[in-house]
């Protein structure tokens, strides 16, 4: 099988770094095919968190004593590591948040409510995750801005003509996924950024999936905001952040108020620190960002290009085997145009039932709307079954999935 011969990375060896992968589920070896929901964590990330608590735990930015300085160095060092991973021009253009959802809400408050006006347009796409829709709905409610959605092609792709046709004279922001968590589709971000800027609009990329599976360079992509979900890129839950173009971060409102983001507090007004600290109120997710930096180091050692290649090989293999087994796979079947989140429908079996039967075989896949109800309506299905990959996924995982489908056919056939 081609995928194995010219493997981009040694997934078998990598698997040994992930303690959870040796557990069983429902009495069978665990086959984890739900990395788009959350990734598993390598030992090194878990240890980075443990070591922080066992050796360096202190609150940051304020302690004069050595332990406090150590914790601050680890925390700000994590910022530099993660910013560098994204090609950010400077560490301080990366704001720590709990993940992609909080990052998008941050922009919707600190930039959106500050700069959007009645009648302005925010351009989304039919691919978007609820986390890149609902914050804009709430922002639109407060500002009078309007949302519109670039339609996808029947193949689940974003067509540049469709994007061009969606701009109005009032388009102020394009908020778009870097990689669909349902179809794996990757819109042409570089080109859309150019169109946005020509139209005088900003562009935000929801990179919850994109950044965890592809090399990212925010300067080359020329985007204004890019959000990161640490827990999907081998990092701890509650880690992640927001890259923001420095000039934009500078002029934005604060988001959450509290300790650490201020310069001076008077009874009715306050002055704020410079970005990124202006957006980091109260005690932050210190251990988690340090863990995410360990994940980023781990991914960098593997090489993000290899991660993407591995994903493409697995996706090609899975598309071939699922289709042969009789599944209907949504979105394009061209593995060069998509990442490895594969949504499918199998015979008359409801995805929920399918996932249940598969789960009983030790195979973890997701069933549902994947936080993308707008896309589900466009696809004309109430839900899909979804398999998704990360560095530790193997062709054997795909084989187990396909065998599981046979079991489901027996129960429901």
């Amino acid at each position: 099988m081609a995928a194995v011969e010219e493997a981009a990375l040694d997934a078998k060896r990598i698997r040994e770094d992930f303690p959870i992968l040796s557990r069983e589920m429902s009495g069978k070896p665990l086959v984890y095919l739900d990395s788009a929901a959350t990734s598993q964590k390598p030992r090194r990330v878990i240890q980075a968190v443990t070591e922080f608590y066992e050796r360096s735990n202190a609150n940051v930015h304020r302690g004069v004593y050595e332990l406090g300085a150590e914790a601050t160095e680890l925390f700000e060092g994590a910022r530099a590591t993660i910013a560098g991973f994204l090609g950010a021009p400077e560490p301080n253009s990366f704001v720590f948040t709990r993940g992609s959802t909080e990052s998008i809400n941050l922009v919707a408050h600190a930039w959106g409510r500050r700069f959007l006006e009645d009648g302005d347009q925010v351009l989304l796409t039919e691919l978007e995750h609820h986390s890149n829709i609902v914050p804009w709905q709430l922002c639109a409610r407060d500002t009078g801005a309007e949302l519109s959605y670039v339609p996808i092609t029947d193949d689940g792709l974003i067509d540049l003509d469709a994007v061009a046709a969606s701009f109005t004279g009032r388009t102020r922001l394009v908020a778009i996924t870097g990689q669909s968590n349902v179809l794996g589709t990757r819109p042409p971000i570089r080109e859309i950024a150019e169109m946005a800027h020509e139209a005088g609009a900003k562009i935000l990329v929801d990179a919850a999936q994109f950044a965890s599976h592809n090399p990212v360079d925010v300067v080359e992509l020329d985007v204004d905001f890019l959000t990161v979900a640490g827990h999907k890129m081998l990092g701890p839950t509650a880690s992640g952040g927001l890259y923001g173009r420095p000039e934009l971060l500078e002029e934005m409102d604060p988001f959450l108020g509290g300790g650490e983001m201020i310069m001076e507090v008077h009874p009715s007004t306050s002055t704020y620190k410079e970005p990124p600290w202006k957006f980091e109120a109260g005690t932050m997710n210190i251990a988690q960002e340090i863990g995410l930096a360990a994940a980023v180091d781990y991914l960098t050692e593997i090489g993000m290009k290899n991660v993407a290649d591995h994903e493409r090989e697995l996706t090609a293999y899975a598309l071939e085997r699922l289709t042969a087994a009789g599944a209907t796979v949504f979105g394009t079947h061209d593995p060069d145009l998509r990442g490895g989140a594969i949504s499918f429908w199998f015979e008359d079996i409801h995805p929920h039932d399918l996932a249940q039967v598969l789960g009983d075989q030790g195979v973890a896949i997701r069933a549902g709307h994947h936080c993308a109800q707008i896309l589900m309506r466009r696809l004309g299905v109430p839900a899909t079954a979804r398999a998704s990959f990360h560095v530790y996924s193997t062709p054997e995982d795909v084989d187990a999935l396909v065998e599981g489908l046979e079991a489901a056919r027996q129960v429901f056939g």
């Binding site: 409801h350 929920h352 039932d353 069933a367 709307h369 109430p382």
Partner: protein
């Protein structure tokens, strides 16, 4: 946990050959709800005759559990008074929460759904049709 507890014969039978799955011309009430978790959707139509559920049907789509439960529901409540149907809905919910041990006579096929209790994520599927029914009867349940 074994899958056989969940996907019992009788459930699969209701799923594959649902009873009373059709529109109901002359319905006095129709209510609809969906379970956003899995995209299940159920409409319950009922013709109430005085205080009695003279006829009840359902429509919708979804997983085997939600559809089988709705199918069984139409059989179990047919001919009951509104009060009796509501009481049955509440007993059913109790069974799902593990607080009620069902009376096999009153429950009939519904007893088969007891296995769902062990699969917490699926409880909402089993209860969906009953929520809609109670709403249709004017006895909405708390979520």
């Amino acid at each position: 946990m074994s899958l056989d507890d969940l996907y019992k014969e009788v459930i699969l039978d209701h799923y594959k050959s649902p009873r009373n799955k059709r529109p109901l011309p002359g319905a006095t009430v129709s209510k609809n709800r969906n379970n956003p978790l899995c995209g299940d959707e159920i409409t319950v139509h009922a013709r109430l005759d005085d205080d009695r559920v003279a006829e009840v049907t359902f429509e919708g789509q979804g997983c085997s559990i939600s559809q089988a439960s709705a199918s069984m529901l139409t059989e179990a409540t047919h001919g009951k008074t509104v009060g009796e149907a509501d009481a049955l809905a509440r007993e059913f919910r109790g069974m799902m929460e593990g607080t009620v041990d069902p009376d096999e006579d009153a429950f009939g096929d519904l007893v088969a759904l007891k296995g769902v209790v062990k699969y917490p994520v699926r409880i909402k599927c089993a209860v969906l049709g009953w929520d809609v029914l109670q709403e249709a009867l004017g006895r909405p349940a708390g979520d």
